[in-house]
């Protein structure tokens, strides 16, 4: 979708649509952000209202960037759902149910009267890091985002790979820990052995709760209560690690082992130049998450001798990965 004859010059607008907030930015062709607008998504308010709020952020961002509206050539959107990138149609959107099976791209394009390109948020974040973040200068890169779940994206020869059924990059559901026992930990997707069942914040919480139930002591729950949260946030994880909480150290060791397996299994199959690891957990823990992976992953590399050539790095863009990636996807697809 999207008219192809618009100029490659000019500005694009990147929209990072999340379950709780919409971040929108005007981006120039050098990846500079000219304005940023943030609004609540109000995920329960219905598809029409959400589309309206997205459109408002786009208009407001253009206004704040102080550029002529006609110089905006396209809009890119990252959405928390599987997307058909050709049409911008959103399938199951578990964080924004109103957008499930909804023609998001089409509706935005009608309202904005601009070419609109929609893609999955993790694909969009991968493109952001590839074009403007840690992956700059590479040709083949894998993005791994560790948060509530584990998502990923795949750049091949400078292009985002969607795959034959638009499901490429689902690293969280690569099977690394299959066991025959029926009592094995299940993934949120209902299957067994998925990486996400071992290395997401959800998995960390589950392991911590189980350890506490078994009588283990930990600062984690105390820190959680202090923050008035009901969930173990990434910030709480970072604080517990800072305080050298033994349970946190133990759980993190398991998480980095499984992320190392993921990196190695991808290296042995796809052999990319770089792995960029981001997401809430990675942002909060930084090198304390990355360094152990860099150390452990090569143990499973079939060619361990030159494992050091494979870069394993922390994402650089934080919250901006979404808007920059969305803007970049729009610009790439205008070509």
């Amino acid at each position: 979708m999207g008219k192809k004859k618009k100029s490659k010059k000019g500005y694009v607008v990147g929209v990072d649509l999340g379950g709780t907030k919409i971040l929108t930015a005007v981006v120039d062709k050098k990846g500079r952000i000219l304005s940023r607008v943030k609004r609540a998504t109000r995920a329960t308010s219905g598809a029409d209202k959400i589309v309206e709020r997205i459109v408002q952020t786009v208009h407001q961002a253009i206004q704040e960037a102080d550029i002529p509206a006609k110089k905006v050539v396209a809009v890119g959107v990252g959405a928390p759902a599987p997307i058909d990138p050709q049409t911008g149609f959103a399938f199951q959107a578990s964080n924004i149910p109103a957008l499930s099976n909804f023609p998001l791209g089409e509706r935005l394009q009608e309202t904005l009267q601009l070419p609109v390109f929609v893609d999955n948020d993790v694909n969009v974040g991968t493109v952001g890091e590839y074009a403007w973040g840690a992956g700059r200068g590479t040709k083949d890169m894998v993005g791994i985002f560790v948060g509530t779940g584990v998502g990923g994206g795949l750049i091949v020869g400078g292009k985002l790979r969607h795959g034959f059924r638009n499901s490429a990059g689902e690293v969280g559901h690569m099977v690394v820990g299959f066991k025959d026992q029926p009592d094995e930990v299940r993934c949120g997707c209902g299957r067994r052995g998925c990486l996400e069942a071992y290395a997401s914040r959800t998995a960390i919480e589950r392991d911590v709760q189980a350890a506490v139930a078994a009588g283990r002591e930990t600062l984690l729950l105390e820190l959680m209560e202090k923050k008035g949260k009901r969930r173990i946030t990434s910030g709480v994880l970072a604080q517990a690690l800072e305080a050298q909480d033994p349970l946190m150290i133990e759980v993190l060791d398991r998480v980095t082992t499984y992320l190392s397996l993921l990196v190695a299994t991808i290296a042995n199959f796809f052999d990319p130049e770089m792995f960029v690891i981001g997401g809430g957990v990675a942002e909060a823990l930084g090198e304390r998450l990355i360094a152990p992976i860099r150390h452990k992953a090569p143990r499973w590399f079939i060619k361990e001798s030159d494992a050091a050539k494979v870069c394993i790095v922390l994402a650089e863009l934080g919250d901006d990965a979404g808007v920059l990636g969305a803007a970049t996807i729009a610009r790439m697809r205008l070509k």
Copy 2:
């Protein structure tokens, strides 16, 4: 390596260099084999002798094809070793130790006075199936070859992928069965959890021996002795399955489960159009290996709904995959 100005027309010679035999064929541009020559490798006879024997097969194949030697524009070679495809240099060649750390491509090119392109035998088999076998007409395809070990190759956008360190396609060392227990089955590569440790003929033999040691009865050993073999060959596996040997059925069920995990984990990451499964075990068992994988793999697909779109098929070329693939690689690289 290889002069690039030779004509794309004319014939190419494909060489399938194995640990026990050399298969060489003259191939025309439509993938038709004009002649076939087979010689023993005599792997222990030293690098010079092996090169000499390869050269002899090339000359003999040209003679038997009854074509003018000057119409042969290039030679492709598949070798059982990690290869630098740019130079044709062979690293660790465990089946032909004399060729370890040996400039195979350069030496053949000097002697043959033709452009020579060398690649790993499994990559070459993948290209053969892609260009002339089960993968014809696809753009993205994964080859999985199940034999003594498990190897693979990866076609992306019609091209063989080597990866950043020439180690793409090592599907046998993707980690699918990691467990924390130290008594876990180790792979031949020394690591734990590799697919090859669960789904190769070597793994089958190990499981059968362990079951027999534990008192299980099976036709497998009897069939093996009848054939006068000291190893459980693929043919013996096929016969035992034909006879509905309960241990064979049980072991095969485990093998197809692990191969299904491999297919699914690749589908979730890379999302190719087709998986082509070949190699000695696959050739001997045919659909009795493939059908269970086709049935089980989608259980782990993150998008199970459209899993039927992903083709999982048996390789078609058998022994010809090597010579056809080698010839095709030579022709592709002449471009």
